[in-house]
């Protein structure tokens, strides 16, 4: 201190000043490092965000790129007119080239690929940033700048397979419903079909009728990810898992004698019947699952610990955002400590307040197929420039453990029996060993009771290559309506494709 410092004091002071310089330099290099990281790696995902108004600017410089299926088919592309035109379509050399977004597959891919004219949905929204960027030959781009023509945007290769999608879409026939197929090892979404559908080529003209017509059945909704349905018997997968967790060593000893119904011991008004009054006789957990015995599972419902069941459901992604990059709905599960016996009996057979999306069902099936590990579903594979250069390869999906490997293998063997001995008999004679669970959820619609038919499963059993979930609104049973659709998907993917 003071003016008169000792000589060593001054020396020390100056050294400390240098130290302070060091400190702030490190701080700044840290900050600059963060900035470089953010721009190089951290910002790609947020560019396509609907709140980023900058994408519109690119519209004036680039022709929107194409969306292409994994087998090389164009799912969406922009056609630029050969001649300059006025806005009313008449030829005019002073006018502008017109651009039309074309969807060659029309209704088949409508919800998955989405549209880009009335806002952006589906892959059109997800891949927006890449479609509006151009990494084509820089020389051509410069020439384009000079001649004031737009450069061609990059193309996005999706994981969807055009043939599989067509088969899935057509297999639904006149029913409303959804089919979603994923590769359980990679998480790649192979097909995502939803009915009723709309034609994205004419979305602008059809908009009012689509939005206002209630009888149209909400075609804009992607039923695979946004549709919520009572899971019916497919929920027995969760119940079986919960029972195994609570009885890790003796779940094999569970026995139940099915006489077609289960009546609660304390309140005989609480009755659950097996589907169409079937009588299954003496069962253990394995056979009760294979036959989809409501009575046995209603009993399990009264036996499990409610809090632990809720925990298991949370682990299995109920009440959470599902890991997919496009719009999706959260599945609902609502059991607490205070839930009554009737709620538990209903919940156990998937008829309570529980609601699930087909995406969620296929997530569970693919985790079981993949030894308990979920590879999160992904839709984008690659970005290529218009001249075919690979610009970006999307990383492998994130993975997360939904259940132990042992739990997954037991559930898989149960699901295998559903096909070999139980309700999914229409898959029994297939050339591959399939596994799955059927469901026939009874819900009321406009006062009538209708059945939503489910199948969720995977194949081949030994080395799963595909997991599928099918839901058919107003169908017959899962085994009769949903399983044949799943079979068409399996058949194509496992036998016909190669």
């Amino acid at each position: 201190m003071k003016n008169k410092k000792s000589r060593s004091g001054i020396r020390k002071t100056n050294r400390n000043i240098i130290r302070v310089i060091y400190f702030f330099s490190f701080l700044f290099f840290g900050m600059i490092g963060y900035m470089v990281y953010f721009i190089g790696w951290g910002s790609d995902d947020l560019m396509g965000n609907a709140y980023n108004p900058r994408m519109e600017v690119f519209n004036e410089r680039f022709v929107r790129g194409a969306i292409i299926s994994s087998d090389g088919q164009v799912l969406a592309r922009t056609i630029v007119s050969d001649t300059r035109k006025n806005s009313d379509g008449t030829e005019n050399p002073e006018g502008a080239y017109t651009e039309t977004r074309e969807y060659p597959y029309g209704k088949t891919f409508a919800q998955a690929v989405g549209y880009s004219t009335k806002g952006k949905t589906g892959i059109e929204s997800l891949a927006n940033f890449y479609l509006m960027e151009s990494n084509s030959n820089p020389v051509i781009q410069v020439v384009n700048e000079i001649t004031e023509t737009k450069s061609q945007g990059d193309n996005v290769i999706t994981t969807l397979d055009s043939e599989l999608q067509k088969i899935a879409y057509e297999a639904l026939e006149d029913h409303n419903g959804a089919v979603i197929a994923v590769d359980p090892k990679t998480g790649e979404v192979l097909a995502m079909a939803s009915k009723p559908s709309f034609d994205p080529n004419t979305i602008v003209e059809d908009w009012d009728s689509i939005v206002n017509d209630e009888s149209a059945g909400a075609p804009l909704l992607n039923r695979c990810t946004q549709g919520l349905y009572a899971p019916g018997s497919t929920f027995k997968i969760v119940m079986a898992l919960e029972y195994m967790r609570e009885h890790p060593n003796d779940y094999q000893n569970f026995t139940f004698n099915c006489d077609g119904e289960y009546r609660d011991v304390s309140n005989s008004d609480y009755v659950v019947h097996c589907y169409s009054g079937e009588v299954h006789g003496a069962e253990d957990l394995h056979t009760a699952f294979a036959y989809s015995c409501n009575s046995a599972f209603a009993k399990i419902g009264t036996m499990v610990n409610r809090t632990k069941l809720a925990e298991t459901a949370e682990q299995l992604l109920f009440n959470q955002e599902l890991p997919i990059a496009i719009a999706s709905s959260k599945s609902r599960f609502n059991v607490t400590e205070d839930s009554g016996t009737w709620t538990m009996m209903q919940t156990a057979i998937g008829q309570g307040e529980t609601m699930m999306s087909p995406l969620h069902e296929v997530i569970l099936a693919s985790a079981i197929a993949n030894r308990g590990v979920l590879a999160e579903p992904k839709l984008l594979k690659q970005v290529q420039s218009s001249d075919g250069k690979i610009i970006k390869v999307f990383e492998d999906s994130e993975t997360r453990q939904l259940m132990t490997e042992n739990e997954a293998s037991v559930l898989a063997s149960f699901m295998r029996s559903v096909v070999s001995d139980g309700t999914a008999s229409k898959l029994r004679d297939a050339g591959y060993a399939a596994a799955g669970k059927t469901g026939s959820a009874e819900v009321s619609k406009n006062g009538e009771t209708i059945t939503n038919a489910w199948f969720t499963g995977f194949a081949p059993y030994d080395d799963p290559e595909i997991a599928v979930c099918v839901v058919v609104e107003e169908g017959e049973t899962g085994g009769r309506t949903a399983v044949p659709i799943a079979r068409k998907v399996f058949d194509y993917w496992l036998t016909e494709k190669n």
């Binding site: 201190m1 002071t13 900050m31 900035m35 910002s43 947020l46 600017v57």
Partner: protein
């Protein structure tokens, strides 16, 4: 065609700014400023070239002749300002001068693109502030003994900030500015200068622990009022500056640690006490959760920076105006979006270079008051830069402070000019003294029989310097001939070099000298 020009200049600009930034650090590695003069001339040419290219873009895009006239006026200003600065003060620090022009040029270009009206307003203030602050070094050298006014500065600062607390206008949750006759200004921008002068003065005169306590109380009073005004960004800047000056003055790490603990407690306290602090922290942790409101500004900034990428979209090719108050707190995002993150990073590095130069000037200072002033102002400057750039890229929560010389706003601009002028003043005063010493020493040498190093020792003695001999300074030529000594300050400044550095009594006294710069020149002149 215009797009092609914009794209071409985009890349040329990146090249030029990278070159400029390189020169900036190259300069810091050259010990003798005379040797660095050609480098400084090149820097100036680079700035003027970039300024021309960018203004041509503005003209081509707007097609307004007024933009062309505005450009010519700016060009004239930059040339005259540099010319007069160098002409009036032979010993001015060319690096800080160049960086001032550099930052002003980028600020004005960005403002022109964002809002021509604001750019013109800004330019008028630039001219006024530049003209007035040009005389500050002269005044400080000839007229003022700033140290004597330390209590006045302290009283002024507390009073000024107190007035803001009583009658100040609130913006974004904090009371920051007072308006007099329709003219608003942000008091903390001025107070932050008087604050450093007051605390540096008091610490340089401190005799005992009691004096340190009193100084700390005065500093605490400043910060308390700032906290009461909810101007926490400024409070943080003041706090860090005081803490570092206290550390430099006492050489005691204990105070640094104490201060850091205090800062953490204050951070926790303000988080729980002020809702707008919580808002900013929430917006920092997860801006996407409330993208419509709290997170809107920061997400727009991230969109801008991310969409721009490293090379930028090119001037007029982005949408920087979508970011709320872009011209003040988020100007770096606008620059990054259209001129590229490389430009933003180079500007950050240039600011860091300014800070390094200011701190190194601090080491030159023989008078401890001047030493503390340069350190205090340097720290305030760099913390402010850190807060504004770090806030814009979501490295830290946004605090709503400006980027000196670049951001729009009169108070910020005037304050930055004064800060740089004071540092220049200190540098010039020291340089003049060194030269006087040099002449005295040289006269002695040429007047008497030259007798090697011993003679210098006696020469010092004649000047009333009773310290050890020249060798004791330990400033070997070898050290300073190393061209890359910015790469490792330690190599030059470490113990070995400062060994037995002597305190020549009242260092401001004529005839006494300790500047190593001076030593080197003398050694060469004498052919040693």
């Amino acid at each position: 065609m215009i797009n092609l020009y914009i794209t071409a200049t985009k890349y040329i600009q990146l090249l030029l700014i990278a070159l400029y930034t390189y020169c900036n650090f190259r300069f810091l590695s050259i010990p003798d400023q005379d040797d660095a003069n050609p480098l400084c001339d090149w820097q100036l040419r680079i700035i003027l070239l970039v300024h021309f290219l960018m203004n041509l873009t503005v003209f081509l895009k707007t097609g307004e002749v007024s933009a062309l006239i505005f450009y010519v006026l700016q060009l004239i200003f930059f040339i005259l300002y540099t010319y007069f600065s160098v002409r009036l003060y032979r010993n001015i620090n060319r690096l800080l001068l160049n960086n001032t022009v550099f930052l002003l040029a980028y600020g004005l270009i960005t403002l022109e693109r964002l809002d021509m009206g604001k750019a013109i307003k800004q330019f008028v203030i630039v001219i006024g502030a530049a003209a007035v602050t040009l005389v500050i070094p002269y005044i400080i050298d000839k007229v003022w003994d700033l140290k004597r006014w330390r209590y006045h500065f302290a009283a002024f600062g507390i009073l000024m900030q107190g007035i803001v607390f009583v009658i100040g206008a609130t913006s974004y949750g904090a009371k920051m500015s007072i308006s007099i006759g329709g003219f608003t200004f942000q008091a903390s921008e001025v107070v932050k200068i008087t604050f450093v002068l007051a605390t540096a003065g008091m610490l340089s005169q401190a005799e005992s622990f009691r004096d340190i306590v009193i100084t700390s109380l005065v500093a605490g009073a400043h910060m308390l009022i700032l906290v009461m005004c909810k101007d926490l960004g400024s409070a943080l800047i003041f706090f860090v500056a005081y803490l570092v000056v206290l550390f430099i003055a006492t050489n005691r790490v204990f105070y640094l640690m104490l201060g850091n603990i205090g800062m953490c407690l204050a951070a926790v306290f303000s988080y729980f006490s002020f809702s707008h602090v919580r808002t900013r922290v929430f917006a920092w942790i997860d801006p996407w959760a409330d993208i419509d409101n709290k997170g809107y500004q920061i997400t727009q900034s991230l969109f801008a920076i991310g969409t721009g990428g490293f090379a930028g979209l090119g001037l007029y090719q982005g949408l920087p105006n979508k970011i709320p108050i872009v011209e003040k707190d988020f100007i770096i995002s606008a620059i990054s979006e259209e001129m590229g993150a490389v430009t933003a990073i180079c500007i950050t590095l240039v600011c860091l270079g300014c800070f390094m130069q200011m701190m190194v000037i601090g080491t030159y200072m023989e008078d401890s008051f001047y030493k503390y002033v340069s350190v205090g102002l340097a720290i305030e400057y760099i913390v402010q830069v850190f807060l504004t750039i770090g806030g814009a890229i979501k490295f830290i929560p946004s605090t709503g402070v400006t980027l000196p010389f670049v951001s729009y706003g009169g108070s910020s601009l005037v304050s930055a000019f004064i800060v740089f002028a004071i540092i220049q003043a200190l540098y010039i005063i020291q340089g003049n003294e060194d030269e006087a010493d040099e002449r005295a020493a040289y006269d002695n040498v040429s007047g008497g029989a030259y007798d090697g190093p011993e003679y210098i020792e006696s020469g010092y003695a004649e000047d009333g310097y009773d310290g050890a001999g020249y060798e004791d300074y330990g400033f070997d030529d070898a050290d300073y001939d190393e061209p890359d000594h910015d790469a490792d300050y330690d190599a030059d400044y470490d113990d070995a070099d400062y060994e037995d550095y002597d305190e020549p009594g009242n260092m401001r006294g004529k005839g006494a000298s300790g500047s190593y710069r001076n030593e080197r020149i003398r050694a060469e002149d004498l052919g040693l």
